[in-house]
């Protein structure tokens, strides 16, 4: 099936996620879609698979313009998407998931479908026990189940969004074999990834996206260097922070091991000193968030120790970390950072600790006004935080950090801010480091990482590599984020 996307636009609030993307994919090919975080890959694929409807633009399948209003309609027309986190029902059995959304029959013929499941799975060398509970499967097996399910539904175009982030090498190989086999059978496969080597070894053609636009297309003998250029642009920033006087160690991680349901970070040791800024780089979900949350006391390490200012904090509750003078700023503004239904002044009053029973509102309002001036927030002390624009929410989030913390842990501190505010915020943060605050921050902006950090910890599938920024180029960083040096 031939897939064509013409001039696709999609906007989320202030963010233009897809800005006029045109793209054509030949039937029976394995097409790569490459790009940095936030380049617009996932949005584009969600548009193609019916999860999102575009603001503008046209989708053509085999030269016919079509329109879907739901993923189910897309599947009916032959387009299915395998999501980064499988959208299955963990409480059900494999066979039940397989049957979900499928046959329009009233009474299910389980025997028949079981044979079908087994047949399809065998064809691709997948091993799936129909009676197993999905919750007991690994991510790789859940992917296999989803692929088999989509194929059983008659999908001709299969989209895979970052399928290899959480699966074993063996499962990856078996997945790649299956994908090649599919293209041989005439199906079209779109492989979304940020991993250069995977795309290079697997795809016949690749399209590179950046900032919601197509920045290049190449057949797959294209050298890596070219691809990196297409991904990160021509301007190659070089790290500038070379002379920083560092104080005593503030944060020490000793052989730290962390894991969540899809990822493991093993045996990480890291020392961050007073005044130091360490950037955590890597694609989202490569382990940097796990480390940051562990440092904030929000995730209990499975092994190793965490020291903050010479105190062993391992396994202590979050409250103790706050008292040890850390400041944590989550990425999800309205989910974790702010309380939409409360005013700025209420946020100020909330972070206040004291013996008094009643709130001193005059004081809270006064201090809110002060932060509003300092952080250039467009709002009043009585404005509900939910009514602020994204950038102002981000500024509010920053303004609520403790005033002189020993350690600041921030996820995407300047996301959604314009250049000017970004500069201003970093000046404030650098003033803090001069007073001895150590900063650990996650960012998906390679330029920001290079420019603002003394060192960068690059994460790739749970592995960590340290990099000195002094003299390093954006190109070096880009390559490392793409997995170079991790083999």
């Amino acid at each position: 099936m031939k897939v064509e996307l013409k001039d696709i636009h999609k906007r989320f609030g202030p963010i233009q996620a897809n800005d006029g993307i045109t793209l054509s994919i030949e039937p029976g090919t394995l097409h790569g879609l490459l790009g940095e975080n936030g380049a617009g890959k996932s949005t584009l694929m969600k548009v193609l698979s019916g999860f999102l409807s575009p603001d503008r633009g046209e989708i053509r399948l085999d030269n016919k313009t079509i329109r879907f209003d739901s993923p189910a309609e897309a599947v009916a027309l032959g387009v299915g998407m395998l999501h980064q986190d499988p959208l299955d029902f963990p409480a059900l059995r494999v066979i039940d998931n397989f049957l979900l959304g499928s046959p329009r029959e009233f009474l299910l013929d389980r025997k028949y479908h079981q044979t079908r499941l087994a047949e399809l799975a065998n064809r691709f060398g997948f091993r799936l026990d129909p009676e197993a509970r999905v919750s007991e499967l690994s991510i790789g097996e859940r992917q296999q189940l989803e692929i088999v399910r989509l194929l059983a539904l008659g999908v001709n175009v299969l989209i895979l969004d970052e399928p290899t982030t959480a699966i074993s090498t063996q499962q990856r190989e078996s997945l790649f074999r299956a994908l090649s086999q599919l293209t041989e059978e005439g199906k079209t496969v779109i492989f979304v990834s940020h991993k250069l080597d995977e795309v290079k070894s697997l795809c016949s053609k690749v399209t590179v996206l950046a900032h919601g636009r197509v920045t290049g297309e190449a057949a797959m003998d294209c050298p890596t260097k070219e691809l990196v250029k297409m991904m990160f642009g021509q301007v190659l920033t070089v790290g500038k922070r070379c002379e920083v006087r560092l104080g005593e160690p503030i944060l020490e991680l000793q052989n730290l091991s962390l894991s969540d349901w899809r990822l493991e970070v093993k045996d990480l040791s890291l020392k961050v000193q007073a005044g130091e800024v360490v950037g955590l780089a890597g694609l989202e979900g490569s382990g940097q968030q796990l480390v940051l949350r562990a440092c904030a006391g929000l995730l209990r390490p499975s092994a190793g120790r965490i020291w903050i200012a010479h105190r062993d904090m391992t396994g202590r509750p979050y409250q103790d970390f706050i008292e040890a003078s850390i400041g944590y700023m989550p990425a999800a503004r309205l989910e974790e950072g702010l309380i939409a239904g409360m005013t700025l002044a209420e946020h100020i009053a909330l972070t206040e600790r004291g013996p008094s029973l009643f709130i001193d509102w005059t004081m809270a309002v006064e201090r809110a006004s002060q932060r509003i001036r300092e952080f250039n927030i467009k709002g009043q002390p009585t404005t509900f935080v939910g009514n602020l624009s994204g950038g102002n929410q981000q500024r509010t989030l920053l303004s609520l950090l403790p005033s002189q913390p020993k350690l600041l842990l921030m996820e995407h501190p300047t996301r959604g801010l314009d250049m000017e505010s970004m500069e201003y915020i970093w000046r404030l943060l650098q003033a803090l480091t001069q007073q001895g605050t150590a900063i650990l921050f996650i960012s998906s902006d390679p330029e920001e990482l290079l420019e603002r950090s003394d060192r960068i910890a690059i994460f790739f599938g749970g592995k960590v590599r340290m990099m000195d920024t002094c003299g390093a180029s954006l190109f070096d960083l880009g390559e490392s984020i793409g997995g170079k040096g991790f083999e």
């Binding site: 702010l338 309380i339 239904g341 409360m342 946020h347 909330l350 600790r353 004291g354």
Partner: protein, 348 residues
């Protein structure tokens, strides 16, 4: 905000009330009952005479107390369905204390201590819900329902067992307390000002606590965004526990009122909570969690409850039709609010 409230919310609440009335009218008409007849019966049943008004006020007091408690738990984002059991346990503790002390202390002292016992009983039962939630990962709705059931069974056990009337084995109740242990009323107006004043004080204190104390602010933060509140350093578990305790205490005080109130039955009987807790949930929902509004709304709910007793008396209708009207009110408000937030999402 307040302008927004008057401009947008109030017309919607009025629309909801009209919707509720018309839906109830439809139901009544289907049951071949004249809705106008039924509504005016309810109205005259609630306000037809001073004595009737007194009964409305009698029902109002426990409703106010329960609503005050629920304002606390709702602010914290908790569905304290267990409030019925908390009322019952307040009544049980109050009864227990009065049984022990009624012959040895002056009546006013007994009444006062019984009120404290009621507060304690409700608070303990409320904190049990909190404890189950915290340490047993039992959702407060299920925990509350379970504890309601246990509280109900416990009263039946006490009434048929240790606290039974001599020579009688009936679930109808314990030995009534003598008039000296009733809250004083007026000669021709059988409602005690003490009950109402307590209820109004409770609502006012809760309103102030939620707005102007650190505890109240933290609770609201937890209710609106538990995760963000936690990350801001709010001791979430401890505060939720306190919220359950506070709500339980106020519900327990309502239980005490149901024992000693001027127009109460003056004894412990099964189902003593009389659904006041559940009704208060509707009150607070209808008031959109606003303390101020829960005052008139609880009053009108008390009026509907008492007024609808006229239906069986006058027209051989079931008095539960009053409940239908109350339920319709709440449903209409929820539906209209739901539609409103859909609009807003589309606008945004």
């Amino acid at each position: 905000m307040n302008k927004e409230f008057i401009r947008r919310i109030i017309p919607l609440q009025i629309a909801a009330i009209l919707l509720a009335l018309s839906l109830s009218a439809v139901i009544l008409t289907i049951l071949s009952i004249s809705p106008i007849d039924a509504f005016s019966l309810i109205l005259s049943g609630a306000f037809g005479s001073p004595a009737k008004l007194a009964y409305v006020l009698t029902a109002w007091a426990p409703l106010l107390l329960c609503s005050a408690g629920l304002l606390v738990t709702f602010a914290a984002g908790l569905w304290n369905i267990g409030i019925e059991g908390q009322v019952v346990m307040g009544a049980v503790f109050a009864t227990g204390l009065m049984r022990i002390l009624q012959d040895s202390l002056p009546p006013s002292a007994v009444l006062l201590l019984a009120a404290l016992a009621g507060l304690l009983g409700g608070a303990l039962w409320g904190m049990l819900v909190g404890g189950l939630r915290r340490y047993g990962s039992v959702n407060e709705i299920f925990g509350g329902l379970g504890l309601n059931f246990i509280a109900g069974s416990l009263t039946v056990y006490l009434i048929l067992g240790p606290w039974k009337r001599p020579g009688i084995g009936s679930t109808s109740g314990t030995e009534p307390f003598p008039p000296s242990l009733w809250l004083p009323g007026f000669k021709d107006f059988q409602a005690s000002p003490i009950e109402m004043i307590l209820g109004l004080i409770a609502i006012a204190s809760v309103a102030i606590a939620l707005r102007d104390t650190h505890f109240g602010l933290r609770l609201r933060a937890v209710g609106m965004n538990m995760k963000a509140a936690f990350l801001k350093g709010v001791p979430v578990d401890q505060d939720l526990f306190l919220a359950f305790g506070l709500c339980g205490a106020l519900a327990g005080l309502a239980g005490w009122v149901l024992i000693v109130g001027t127009s109460a039955r003056h004894n412990l009987y099964p189902l003593i909570s009389s659904g006041y807790g559940y009704l208060a949930i509707l009150v607070v929902l209808l008031a959109n969690l606003k303390p101020f509004w829960s005052v008139p709304i609880s009053f009108s709910f008390a009026a509907i409850s008492m007024g609808s007793l006229q239906l069986p008396l006058q027209r051989q209708l079931d008095s539960s039709l009053g409940g239908v009207i109350q339920g319709m009110l709440v449903l209409s408000v929820l539906v209209i609010n739901g539609i409103r937030s859909r609009w807003l999402r589309h606008e945004g």
